[in-house]
Subunit: 212 residues, 2 copies
């Protein structure tokens, strides 16, 4: 895959700082659509933002309940190892996932949780947002909490562009739900931007090209 | 994940021989739909056949051309390591993929190739079938070669049930293409069954519970 990696590095748009290896873990219960969220994030970053992406997900009885996860590695340049070793961004949509999947966070990692469903965040720096409540109360569709969360991830961290996210999302949602999903994404961006204003300087971890 | 693994093991239907770890690699060029094929296989085995499944796929510039792959690990029981270490089933839809991804085959592995696009199969035991030609000539849709290949994989190896494959497939294809995709799957099963009759005894490697 060296050739592919090289080609990619050369294709980083002028003026764009190359992105070092970033490990993302999206977690929650089986019914919360984390695998779909992972697919959308991976395709957005890989096919539309033009980065190298590797994704790992599991299916099985545990995917229907309990703690479930999808992991996405994103980098400008080839990815040698497709598994998480030090998580840079953890999204946790329930308490069980927050507890189970926070053992290998990088120092200063982004931790983004559903504030109503995660009473005890894994770190005091966690950004807590009401993804599920917003989906239920503002859009009347609890199942788009995952899409709202993706929008917030984009707005907070910049790890994926909103444009790419929207393209990838629309390629994956059932026909007839495009408008709902675009609204959910925009709502997530709004929540993320508001939260960004409240994050204290020094708390925000920026993705860097340090490990390139 | 021990609890989940345990639960699964207990849920193996009576009379079904537990399946040991099976490593599947689906490969070809970026345009041949191998990631979709991997998703369908993983969901079929994980959600509908009730096994544990882990899947790894890559996105990026190389996913649009050259050699691209999706890897799926299937097992009755928990999966400790989600990457391929010794491939039990290689599907290769072009020569580059057959060359690039055949270095770590298990002894007696299934190797299934597109006979028209892979002139030099990685082993003399390879089963060569005309997936792309069948898609083009019989269904007038070259892009369903991946679905035909999945049908053949099911019929030849039994690693996934046809019923599960069809359910997972229909959940992933665009509205309006269900009939086409069902036809493609059935065509693959037919090709696979015919080939099975010609495979010499001793050449067929059966998935076993040896490593449980």
């Amino acid at each position: 895959m060296k050739a592919a990696g090289k080609a990619l590095k050369q294709s980083v748009p002028e003026g764009r700082k190359p992105l070092g290896r970033v490990e993302v873990r999206l977690s929650g219960s089986g019914g919360q659509g984390l695998i779909l969220a992972g697919l959308v994030l991976a395709e957005a970053a890989g096919l539309y933002d033009g980065r190298e992406v590797a994704m790992v997900q599991s299916y099985g009885p545990e995917a229907r309940g309990g703690a479930s996860k999808a992991e996405v590695i994103i980098r400008d340049g080839s990815i040698d190892y497709p598994l998480c070793t030090r998580v840079d961004l953890l999204l946790a949509l329930n308490q069980e996932a927050a507890d189970e999947y926070s053992h290998d966070l990088a120092p200063g990692a982004w931790v983004i949780v559903d504030g109503d469903l995660v009473a005890n965040a894994p770190t005091s720096r966690a950004v807590a947002l009401p993804f599920t409540a917003a989906a239920r109360d503002k859009l009347k569709r609890p199942m788009v909490a995952n899409v709202i969360a993706l929008g917030a991830v984009s707005a907070l961290t910049g790890i994926v562009s909103l444009k790419a996210l929207e393209k990838a999302l629309l390629a994956h949602v059932p026909a007839g739900t495009e408008a709902l999903n675009k609204k959910a994404l925009a709502l997530g961006v709004k929540l993320g931007r508001e939260a960004l204003g409240k994050v204290r300087p020094g708390q925000v971890w920026e993705f860097s090209a340090a490990d390139m």
